[in-house]
Amino acid sequence: MSFLAIKNLSIGLKKGPPLLRRVSLEVSSGEERGRVWESGAGKSMIGKAVLGILPPSVEVTGGEIWLDGTDLLRLPLAERRRRIGALAALIPQDPLTALNPSHRIGPQITDRLVDILGWRRADAEARARDLLTEVQIAEPERVMRAYPHELSGGMRQRILIASAFAAEPKLIVADEPTTALDVTVQKQILKLISQMQARHGTALLFVTHDLGVVSKVCQRLSVLYAGMVVEDSTVGDFFAAPRHPYSAALLAATPKYTDPQAGLNPVPDSVIAAVRAEVAAFDRSAAHG
């Protein structure tokens, strides 16, 4: 059984249309590097649902989220939070807003270990130093005493990666972790996430809109449109021959610097119309039972 298995997960605003439509996916730990998402509203919602951090206006309307053999949605809230906290962690999108500007870096990594997981402060600090070294931060002692504004965007993202791995989680959700970064820094950060993931044997759920990034970091991907999975395949199969017309169109819209003629073709209206019709048909069948 996969470490994370989402089955028929539906999420919606309390009033209004669904945001996710019976999404299913699995992420194994270890060698299979996880899954990735592409396009449109809903992709961030999956990660948030797994971590139990959906906004208050959004609720799960059906389905199951199995994490390490337990359906999280059946657990009482406190128990669910404890399990998620012990097993999963997030690498957020924006390293500036994810760090508290008025606290030093050190406590932002160690507090969770001490206060929630019950570590001794000295152990937590030693662990933070080791992790900062592992994410290739020189002078970890100095960085732990620094405030976020004293560090570059790349450094802050490294710190968040270190922080995510701090409690040895079995699952990492990375939500567009490099969109705020420069291409050269993006490459370093992706390399780091891949290395850390391989070394720690963590399952990775990687949310991105960049198919280039997907082809480098992931082994499987799910393409979403309007909260519905339209394609679910291995990265090799997908880039060789995408099966769904919508995913094929997305690939054709992605520019390639090696070939100025390729890419930058907008998704044709006919493809959008077809996939919208699929979504509408899905909603009708869901409404009828």
Binding site: G153, L211, G212, K216, F239, A253, P255, K256, Y257
Partner: protein, 266 residues
């Protein structure tokens, strides 16, 4: 072909507020360190570089939102380097800007029609509602969008409103600063195809600032690579991509993940 812009030894420094002592002036930080280049009329110039390379600062100097410390910017033969705001005002119509984030650059309380009409009114145009409609036609938005508010539009549509506002003034030059970085690939493709068409149809000169070399390759005739406030390369785009000269250009190219799992990357 005549040059629309001639830039000579352009230097620009800004106050470094992070290093400002409690009392006394902030130290100056030199952002642009002596740039010399020209932009021919009717061409599309790409400006690339990492964060902190000075590409946005350069863009803002070109449309004189920032005043250079030294050097010269000549726009269509006129030296605009140190013109005062009053002297610039009659010229401003001719160089327009499209911003990165259309949500913060469009007034959320104004309808699309008012957003496009306001600069027209400021510059003393007549037949404003006709011009608004024509601008919407140009960017491929239906005319009834004039009565919508920005929050009712998608990201790509908002960016089109930003483009419509710029071209309504019939400018000679448009500066586009990272205008597609917030869009999904399909909207990105639409906006870029639109820009390509407008440059052709309206005879615009365009400077396109981006960190995405794939986009630059498709759109630009000439590419300027900036690194820490200096030009490391300024060459025709095809040439630059086929034979990148500077180590930094190669590093930028190799950092782009192609949508192809076979490409060795890490």
């Amino acid at each position: 072909m005549a040059d629309l812009y001639q830039i000579e030894n352009l230097r620009l420094s800004l106050a470094d507020m992070a290093a400002k002592p409690l009392f006394g002036p902030a130290p100056r930080l030199e952002i642009l360190k002596g740039l010399t280049f020209s932009i021919p009329k009717g061409s599309v110039v790409g400006i690339v570089g990492g964060s902190g390379s000075g590409k946005s600062t350069l863009g803002r100097a070109l449309v004189r939102l920032l005043e250079p410390s030294s050097g010269a910017i000549r726009f269509d033969g006129t030296d605009i380097t140190h013109l005062s705001e009053a002297e610039l005002r009659p010229m401003r119509r001719r160089f327009q800007m499209i911003f990165q984030d259309p949500m913060s650059s469009l007034n959320p309380r104004h309808r699309v029609s008012a957003i496009i009409a306001e600069p027209l009114r400021l510059h003393g145009f007549d037949a404003i509602s006709d011009r608004v409609s024509r601008a919407l036609d140009h960017v491929g938005l239906p005319r009834h969008f004039a009565s919508r508010y920005p929050h009712e539009l998608s990201g790509g549509q908002r960016q089109r409103v930003g483009i419509a506002r710029a071209i309504a003034l019939e400018p000679d030059f448009i500066l586009a600063d990272e205008i597609v970085s917030g869009l999904d690939v399909s909207s990105q493709a639409q906006v870029l195809n639109l820009l390509e068409r407008l440059v052709r149809e309206l005879g615009l000169t365009l400077a396109f600032i981006s960190h995405d070399l794939a986009v630059i390759r498709r759109l630009c005739d000439q590419t300027i690579v900036l690194y820490r406030g200096e030009i490391v390369e300024d060459r025709p785009t095809a040439d630059l991509f086929d034979r990148p000269g500077a180590a930094y250009t190669r590093e930028l190219l190799e950092a782009i993940p192609l949508p192809d799992p076979a490409q060795p990357w890490f």
